[in-house]
Symmetry: C2
Subunit: 192 residues, 2 copies
């Protein structure tokens, strides 16, 4: 539970009362590998903070293939922001890739905290801005770069993740097949 406070204090300081208020609205959960914390068709009613472990958020197409939109590991947030704010059913899944520990905040509780601790508005605004910029850079990469460049960029940007994730998951994130990622990795290893 201390994890989330430490995280918030990287942005702004909090009083003891504020910390207690936050703690009272946040729930700790242990999540098994492959367990889902959001499924298609359900409204995303929580914001999730990853204390330990790793998650993927993905869509499933008509053919049943998964497409990874985002990963989240320690000290990262994950939620289907669209569904969360619109309160419409999500089209996405969020699933644990590793045994994990999360802290979750329900929508109403988050809004309650926003009202009582205005600083949190700012923090979540900054979090959202960062995610926005990340997404925009990814679009730019997708429309302008080759798969190999995107892979190298992923390694650089998420050295953490890239050593923890199976390549199948990375391939899905990059929008290529695992076989082709294999080919790329071979090229890179023989050519350097």
């Amino acid at each position: 539970m201390q994890a989330i406070i430490t995280y918030f204090q990287k942005y702004l300081p909090f009083s003891i009362e504020e910390k207690e208020l936050i703690a009272s609205k946040v729930t700790l959960r242990n999540i098994k590998r492959k367990q889902m914390i959001l499924q298609e068709g359900l409204v995303c009613k929580h914001y999730f903070f990853v204390v330990e472990g790793c998650f993927k958020m993905y869509a499933v197409d008509e053919k049943g293939n998964q497409h990874n939109l985002q990963f989240a590991a320690e000290n990262d947030w994950i939620a289907d922001i669209g569904s969360f704010h619109s309160e419409k059913p999500s089209k996405l899944f969020i699933e644990a890739i590793e045994p994990s520990v999360i802290l979750q905040v329900e929508q109403q509780d988050l809004y309650f905290l926003y009202l009582n601790i205005p600083k949190l508005n700012i923090i979540f605004k900054v979090i959202t801005e960062h995610k926005f910029i990340e997404l925009q850079n990814r679009v730019l990469q997708n429309i302008s770069s080759t798969a190999q460049q995107r892979y190298l960029n992923f390694l650089e940007q998420y050295p953490n993740l890239s050593s923890r994730l199976p390549n199948t998951q990375i391939a899905s994130y990059l929008g290529i097949t695992p076989e082709f990622l294999s080919k790329i990795r071979k090229e890179l290893s023989t050519h350097n």
Copy 2:
């Protein structure tokens, strides 16, 4: 100037005083075709509201090729949100595709308006959420769909834009060459 008020009132009602306050912080500009309202290397100090005309936001790669990240036509907002909030130099350009009329709000003025008209916080939060969802859907399309599907989706999602924009610009947005878009269009026309 009325345009932006009408736009805001689609979300929430405003008093006369509030409208006057907004009007006092907003500047009207006429922009010629090909004129830039943001260039790489400069900090994006304004949020732009398009009253009339059309803009593209793009990055230029090492080879000098442009890659369109976003279009904005009537009643849409455009800015490099990353640069705007971080106050770091932008890597993007925003350029008029048609002779245009915009209303611009400077950063400090926007923050001033946020303080004095809290409703505006909500409106901009919603605007940003919509842009976020749009971006996320675009990433999903990019990693899961063929260029033809992406093109069809663009036609559906932006019927307006697609009839106004040269195909070269659409191709750049989709991340394909104009020649290949031509091939796609031919296929679609002969096959239906």
